[in-house]
């Protein structure tokens, strides 16, 4: 199996799995119980929390959630905002943010969408025009989950805060944290989502960074865990695993970035411009590469590559029956490429021969499929 769909999820790191197992079978206690082993466990969770905050260079606190989607929902729904106020999100957000935006529109908020360029990156000047004194919340993803395009969050935050200092700025960093360098203090965001299973921890654990001084309402009410903002018995195995995963990724950041960049370059340098169009241009995370196939449907290519044991993704702009109306960056594409989006996403587990096999298979299948168009 050659797994090139690492933006959807990743193989769990053996060490993370072993840590999670330990907290399931040995230290399985409820951290809220009053006896010694639980108190110890509760301290360990807080130590993890602090370590993650340090790794992401934030000032404030981390709450653990069950998914990136939950973190995004918390950010969008639980921030304080005046009814009817303006909310700015980008045209290329993940559905976890976009659908919240649609919901907030129906609740009476003035949700507006910042246009993106052909790689899915927010256009800075057009973004600026959307911010006004009525703006209460902004949510712009750090790394685009389909194209890998990196948004200049630091500039966008300072731009927004200059116009309206009270605005809350959230960024979905699910494809960034642990993969590219993230310095939350430097970015100056108020809220930041990250997720474990995109960086080799098990599924079901994620987090939301809340900058010091930023207040949010509880998302789940109950036993008062996570500073009473997200009641639920803590997912201790997940928390311990995500901390380890993040720490491992950040320690080896330069090494991983250089390895993955080499793989990415190998793909890009081998793309025949007659058949394929690279969407991931400009400043992009090397982990995600989006390619548009000329005339061949992305979904068909995805299935064709299955017979070589290769798993890739497609773009959401090419859902099987209708072309997504949003189709943010897809809107820039010539008609014959629009349904041909494929996403290749890498991890530190990928090797050079995986990429060679992918390129050869892609070309072979393309040449077969194009004959029957």
């Amino acid at each position: 199996m050659i797994f090139l769909d690492n933006a959807s999820t990743t193989r769990t790191d053996d060490e993370c799995a072993a840590i999670a197992l330990k907290y399931m079978t040995e230290n399985y206690f409820n951290p809220s119980a009053p006896y010694h082993v639980s108190v110890e466990l509760s301290n360990e969770i807080n130590r993890s929390r602090e370590n993650i905050l340090r790794l992401l260079k934030g000032e404030g606190k981390i709450i653990f959630t069950a998914s990136g989607t939950e973190s995004d929902n918390t950010a969008l729904f639980c921030t304080k905002k005046k009814h009817g106020s303006r909310i700015v999100i980008s045209d290329a957000e993940h559905p976890a943010v976009r659908k919240c935006g649609e919901n907030l529109t129906s609740l009476g908020y003035d949700v507006v969408y910042a246009p993106v360029d052909e790689a899915g990156r927010v256009k800075t000047e057009e973004f600026r025009k959307l911010i006004n004194e009525e703006t209460s919340l902004i949510s712009i993803m750090h790394v685009n989950n389909e194209t890998g395009a990196i948004n200049d969050i630091k500039t966008l935050v300072s731009m927004a805060k200059k116009i309206n200092p009270s605005v809350i700025f959230h960024s979905d960093g699910v494809q960034a944290a642990g993969k590219i360098k993230v310095n939350l203090k430097d970015l100056n965001v108020d809220l930041y989502s990250f997720s474990g299973h995109k960086i080799h921890s098990p599924k079901g654990i994620a987090g939301l960074y809340i900058k010091k001084g930023v207040n949010i309402k509880p998302y789940l009410i109950g036993g008062g865990q996570e500073f009473s903002l997200r009641s639920s018995t803590e997912n201790v195995p997940g928390i311990m695993a995500i901390e380890h995963a993040l720490s491992k990724q950040i320690t080896a950041m330069d090494f991983n970035l250089s390895k993955v960049s080499d793989l990415r370059n190998k793909i890009i340098n081998n793309l025949d411009n007659e058949k394929y169009k690279l969407i991931s241009t400009g400043e992009c995370s090397p982990y995600i590469i989006m390619i548009a196939l000329k005339k061949v449907r992305g979904e068909v290519m995805l299935h064709s590559l299955e017979k070589y044991g290769i798993c890739i993704g497609t773009g959401s702009a090419c859902s099987s029956k209708k072309i997504d109306k949003k189709a943010s960056f897809g809107a820039y594409l010539p008609e014959e490429y629009k349904r041909g989006l494929i996403r290749v996403s890498l991890s530190r587990f990928n090797e050079e021969n995986d990429i060679e096999c992918f390129i050869n298979s892609l070309n072979l299948e393309y040449n077969t499929l194009i004959k029957y168009i």
Binding site: R297, E299, V300, M301, L302, H303, S304, E306, S319, S320, K321, K322, Y372
Partner: protein
């Protein structure tokens, strides 16, 4: 006193000398539908009973029986040895203490000296005595007390009749090979033919990589939904891409669908003979799409000699959707996956194809080999809603 379910059989009544064949088939089908539930099915001359089950499972049994073709209606009932006093006593106890009611007695056991009317009157009187909040009205009532006194020495008390699908027991009408696409129509066609006693087997054409694994799973799910009515369905998934490639390479695009459907019919017939089916079943409805005009149907039909049953031929789409919703297939049918017919869909498919021209177009194709190769790649899945 014992809880039982009374099963009334439908059209089988009309059968003369073959009646035993129909009733024993129906009994088998009922047993098959209930095979994972502990209960006993007993058949008497003109009705059947389900008994010996755990009371908690009564609703599940009822819901399964409503999907067995050949049953007209059912009534959950209590059974007791015939004793008029006991019957009256039970009616007082089992039925609501207030409300307007009527009593209907059916006395098949003529050894009892009282007439049905007399017995009904006596039971009604006891029930009125039992609670002063009850009143009788024979025409406008909240509940009806039914008492059935049989000649076997037992009586049955029940209050509701649950309508079932009617039709004939599945299997009495032979086997049919259904073309199952994954759309709205073909599951409905399966339902209607099964209602007339046809045991359904199915063929699905899969165009990997153009159609996904999910599209195939959807078809399997649809077959499972329909299997609630038809019993387990043997589904043959036939790889179709090579045939589509061959047509695409050799024939004009507007004849793509016509020639494709001719191949589908050939494969369906071959599988039908292999699997002992006496007919092909399709979900075609006249004029619905280009391939379902009278001319198109003639051209596609002409490659087979088995009869082709098209139970939806005269149905409007809205009528088909109504049945699709009723059998719970609609939500699955509309899941948006490509099916083999939407791949290589020409912009302007021919509406009135000519048979001679189709024959001419097929000359360069090695039909026998294409059909045999496709059949050789068939994957067989048994689709049963219980799994």
């Amino acid at each position: 006193m014992e809880h039982i379910i009374l099963i009334r059989i439908g059209e089988i009544f009309l059968k003369g000398h073959n009646r035993n064949f129909f009733t024993s088939l129906l009994k088998n089908n009922i047993c098959e539908a209930l095979k994972d539930i502990k209960c006993k099915v007993v058949s008497t001359q003109n009705r059947m009973f389900c008994e010996g089950y755990n009371q908690d499972e009564e609703e599940e049994i009822i819901s399964r029986l409503t999907t067995v073709f050949g049953i007209y209606n059912i009534s959950p009932a209590v059974k007791l040895a015939t004793n008029l006093e006991k019957i009256a006593e039970l009616c007082c106890r089992l039925f609501p203490k207030e409300g307007v009611f009527r009593v209907t007695v059916n006395r098949a056991d003529k050894k009892i000296p009282l007439s049905s009317m007399d017995i009904a009157r006596n039971i009604g009187a006891e029930m009125l005595k039992d609670s002063s909040y009850r009143t009788v009205n024979l025409y406008k009532y909240d509940f009806e007390v039914n008492v059935d006194i049989r000649e076997n020495g037992y009586s049955y008390i029940f209050y509701r009749k649950i309508a079932c699908e009617g039709g004939l027991p599945v299997g009495c009408g032979g086997n049919g090979m259904l073309l199952l696409s994954g759309g709205i129509d073909s599951p409905v066609a399966a339902f209607l033919m099964a209602k007339r006693g046809v045991k359904i087997k199915a063929v699905h054409f899969h165009s990997f990589p153009y159609t996904s694994e999910m599209a195939k799973e959807k078809v399997i799910k649809l077959a499972k939904i329909v299997s609630c009515y038809c019993g387990p369905i043997e589904l043959s998934v036939v790889p179709f891409t090579e045939i589509q490639y061959a047509i695409k390479e050799n024939c004009p695009i507007e004849y793509m669908i016509t020639i494709m459907r001719r191949f589908m019919m050939r494969i369906a017939e071959k599988l039908a003979y292999e699997k002992n089916c006496g007919a092909i079943v399709t979900g075609e409805s006249l004029g619905q799409v280009a391939s379902q005009t009278m001319e198109s149907i003639m051209v596609t039909n002409s490659v087979v000699s088995l009869p082709v049953f098209r139970p939806l031929i005269g149905f409007d789409k809205s009528e088909i959707i109504e049945i699709s919703r009723k059998i719970d297939a609609f939500e699955t049918s509309i899941l948006p996956y490509e099916d083999c017919c939407t791949v290589f869909l020409p912009k302007n498919p021919v509406i009135k194809p000519k048979l001679n021209y189709a024959l001419e177009l097929e000359v360069p194709l090695d039909i026998e080999k294409l059909v045999d190769d496709a059949i050789a790649g068939t994957e067989t899945v048994i689709c049963d809603f219980r799994e």
